[in-house]
């Protein structure tokens, strides 16, 4: 099956071809929904590579030793001295490593892989032995962003990223089905010929790289694009340059022109932006011009709806306000802006809760730890969690000396224990009403402040924070679970507010996030803080918003290892008080506090005391 014959996805193909031309392009990440052919294309790419260029797959079951290398049992026993057996990475030098479903790979394995890639060599020091070999490789990977997220610093490691959008056009969908049934719809020999031509073109392009010149204006154009994307760091500039150069070479040119930069910019810069732009929709909060401070009176729903109708193109500025970075009238934001954290006591998770959560028996929490994935072995570990393989390997070289007569002799010093995948211990999810109702800015600022302080003050870097904003017709995960204060501050710099109040969407998003993270990290515990007045005026399905809210609240209450806090934002000075947030708190069996308590550091203290 040919690479050229793969239906559509020209940008993904271009990204792969550029990486085949120049390894400095930095690899490719494919982001797309399940079953859209990401791994099929990556595997077909292999046939474009010249003989001798490695293409190795890193399977999900890989352990640290499988990846980096470890003791060779057979040789060690035979020779009576420790011998190394190289791992996957030893086969990858000068080639490609492909990881399908990279988001499912244990975090430690991924970190090790990226670490080796960054250094260009693999160095293992184990049991007094050293293994060292060159490991310069490019990483190709695929993931489904709906299933999990990759932290931004890992995203940044990839030179390019391609979003695989949905294909809805019938003729193209039919072509994809035909492609999947090659026995019935054999590929035309033409496609195979095109592959050979392309492989040749790649070879020629590679030889052009060294003599490539740069046209005037190219550097200026690149710097402009990088600044415009507001990405962090300088990696993007470098990748952009090499990608543009490889593009010029592919086009048979002898100098890089601004057109080459334009052609590769989306591939190199999209994933470095603050957020991946959703398909077919410009990201509103990306707007760079500071807007005039929004007026404080709430938009009435009718006019908001009318606004939406008058701009059928989607997002419009009519029902949209962007929270400016600075608002003098709000002292809290001033504190936040100056970069000072809340003046607070240290952040301690409440241990007693955790114990109670696991029946108060320490044994139980240990046995839970034993269930994590076995990543590597270590000399110390949990009683009873012995890594037999590693123990035997440790004992192997000494067998001749010990003279066990064909039977293995193991001494206490040989015993190795399993080191298992570590779990993040806590995740605080803030779910905030971002609609145009009263006090939107204040809710945002208070939440941002609390998040910032939680992260800055957290001594346990394994604790994470996430933020969901619901407004207009949906909920958005504006801050994916992170322990990085830097990232939080980048993601939350500007928060658009305005529109309707889809409370049920916000609840459902929190519900799904808890489920998703709980599956991924079974030891994780959650605190969901809902900052709302409990009112909803937009629903997901056909029912009424109130019914939906109470149904989802019922589901949320069933979530394991999850506690809730409702911060009621209803104006208590108002004439009519609905008390809806109180009702929601009751449905969730949640702790409850009022908005006034946000005036101080109370939100943070509240979250901290919940653990």
């Amino acid at each position: 099956m040919s690479f050229s014959g793969f239906v559509g996805r020209d940008d993904a193909k271009l990204a792969l071809v550029l990486n085949a031309i120049d390894r400095r392009c930095g690899g490719v990440l494919f982001l797309g929904e399940k079953g859209c052919g990401k791994s099929t294309l990556a595997r077909r790419f292999r046939r474009l590579l010249p003989r001798g260029i490695p293409f190795v797959e890193l399977p999900l079951n890989a352990t640290e030793e499988g990846l980096m290398g470890g003791i060779d049992l057979e040789k060690t026993i035979r020779e009576g001295r420790r011998c190394f057996q190289p791992g996957i990475l030893s086969r990858a030098h000068d080639g490609f490593v492909y990881i399908d479903d990279i988001h499912l790979l244990p975090v430690e394995i991924l970190a090790l892989t990226l670490n080796v890639q960054g250094r260009g060599e693999n160095l293992v020091e184990k049991e007094g032995l050293t293994l060292r070999h060159a490991a310069e490789f490019q990483l190709l990977a695929s993931m489904d962003p709906a299933e999990n997220f990759l932290p931004p610093h890992l995203l940044d490691c990839f030179g390019m990223a391609v979003v695989w959008g949905k294909i809805t056009e019938a003729a193209q969908r039919a072509a994809i089905v035909r492609q999947a049934m090659p026995d019935l719809f054999p590929e035309s020999p033409e496609a195979g010929r095109r592959d050979r031509v392309l492989a040749e073109r790649i070879g020629v392009a590679r030889s052009r790289l060294a003599g490539m010149k740069i046209s005037a204006g190219v550097e200026d154009c690149m710097a402009g694009k990088c600044l415009e994307s507001r990405m962090a760091g300088h990696r993007g500039d470098v990748f952009l340059f090499y990608a543009a150069r490889a593009h010029a070479a592919l086009m048979g040119k002898d100098r890089v022109e601004p057109a080459d930069v334009d052609a590769v910019t989306p591939l190199v810069l999209n994933h470095r932006r603050r957020q991946l732009p959703p398909e077919n929709e410009p990201e509103q909060s990306e707007k760079r011009e500071p807007r005039p401070p929004p007026e404080n009176n709430p938009k009435d729903q009718k006019s908001a709806a009318a606004d939406r109708q008058s701009h059928p193109g989607g997002d419009n500025q009519g029902d949209e306000k962007t929270l400016p970075e600075k608002r003098e009238s709000l002292p809290m934001e001033a504190v936040f802006e100056s970069g000072e954290p809340f003046p607070l006591r240290r952040f301690h998770y409440r241990r007693d809760r955790i114990k109670r959560g696991s029946s108060g028996r320490k044994i139980k929490s240990l046995s839970r730890d034993k269930r994590g994935r076995y990543i590597r072995s270590a000399e110390r570990g949990l009683d009873g969690d012995i890594a037999i393989d590693a123990t035997v390997r440790a004992a192997a070289p000494l067998q001749r000396l010990r003279g066990g007569d064909g039977r293995l002799v193991i001494r206490p010093g040989d015993i190795r224990y399993k080191r298992r995948e570590k779990k993040v211990s806590h995740l605080a999810i803030f779910v905030v009403d971002g609609s145009g109702s009263m006090g939107a800015q204040r809710r945002m600022v208070a939440t941002k402040g609390a998040i910032q302080s939680l992260l800055l003050d957290s001594y346990q870097k394994r604790d994470k924070v996430a933020m969901i904003v619901f407004r207009k017709d949906r909920a958005e995960l504006v801050l994916p679970p992170t322990s990085s204060a830097e990232l939080a501050s980048r993601c939350l710099r500007q928060m658009p507010v305005g529109g309707r109040t889809p409370l049920s969407a916000g609840l459902l998003a929190a519900h799904d996030l808890v489920r998703r993270m709980g599956r991924r990290e079974p030891g994780l515990r959650f605190l969901v803080a809902l900052i709302t007045d409990g009112r909803a005026n937009h629903c997901l399905g056909g029912a009424t918003p109130e019914k939906e809210v109470s149904k989802i609240a019922g589901l949320m209450r069933e979530l394991p290892s999850t506690e809730f806090l409702v911060v009621d934002t209803e104006n208590k000075a108002g004439l009519i008080r609905m008390g809806l947030a109180g009702r929601l708190a009751a449905q969730l069996a949640a702790d409850y506090c009022r908005m006034e308590e946000l005036e101080s550091d109370r939100l943070l203290a509240f979250v901290q005391s919940r653990w």
Binding site: E33, K34, G35, C36, E57, P59, L60, N61, A62, T63, E65, G66, G70, D72, L73, E74, I77, Q85, G87, I88, D101, L104, A146, E147, K166, T168, E169, A170, R173, A174, I176, V177, A180, M181, D183, L184, R371, R373, Y374, I388, D389, A390, V392, R393, G406, R407, L408, L508, H511, R515, R519, P522, L540, G541, G542, E548, K551, I552, G554, L555
Partner: protein, 336 residues
Amino acid sequence: MIFPFTAIVGQEEMKTGLILNVIDPSIGGLLIMGEKGTAKSTAVRALAELLPELEAVEGCRFQCDPGGKLCGECQEKNRMGGPLPVAHRKMRVVELPLGVTEDRLVGTLDMEHALQKGEKRFEPGLLADANRNFLYVDEVNLLEDHIVDLLLDSAAMGVNTVEREGVSFTHPARFILAGTMNPEEGDLRPQLLDRFGLCAQVVSVREKESRMEILRRKAAFDADAGRMAAAWKKEQTELARRIKEAQTALPSIQPGDDALEKIVKITAALSLDGHRADIVMMKTARALVAFRGKTAVEAGEIRDAAALALGHRMKRLPFEEMGAQAEKLRGLLEGI
């Protein structure tokens, strides 16, 4: 003795789903949803029992097909000396227990062999046992997530690649995956549901007459399994023959552009993620045509294929009984 497959009352969706996977294993398995005690594992075992023997390389740990792609060990043997010895054997049902570890699933270093002989050797896991067999996973939703990830990854690739402590090994892992789940005890994330080709709902039989029939047959089987087998021999042989004929006919069934158009129209209208739904529907419709002894894919097959292939791929809000998509599908299917 195993209860005869053809004597199972009702549960047509499940039975058809299994048979279609035998006719075309590339459909990608069957997820059986329903309450406990609805004879799910009996059905899988009963079908395996009914199928004719397969040819396999004698002594191969992966039951290689002598006429198909060989494992590394068989390739080696082939190189060394002449034709491989062939044995005939029944398809087996390999069961994946709930507490299964990663090592046991994908395989690991054969520690005993290493200690006794001082050689490293790959100790095959359940994925190796499952090659060219049924892999039955009871309550797949209760397995640990990373185990399911590994399992479905191999199922999709047809290959198991192991890179673990001391072993680096690849072997074929093509099997018919049959999973069961009771959605009331927790669900699977959509990405995992999507990896199952088909999904069948089983429900307890409600009609009095059928319930009595189930009881009668069960009692007859318990009283004298041999006699029961003899009584159902004709039906069993007949079904085995039909399956065999369908397998033979399958390669010649060319789906027309018309059928393909109908299928993509449905999936595009439902805006389903990815393209597995389209591909599975096409394959299922063809297998149905072959099983029914017809030659062309018609509206009836597309409708039945949709029922098996789309149910678990539709988006549904967790609090909804039936999603808006399912309602839409009903309309779309009436239209074809």
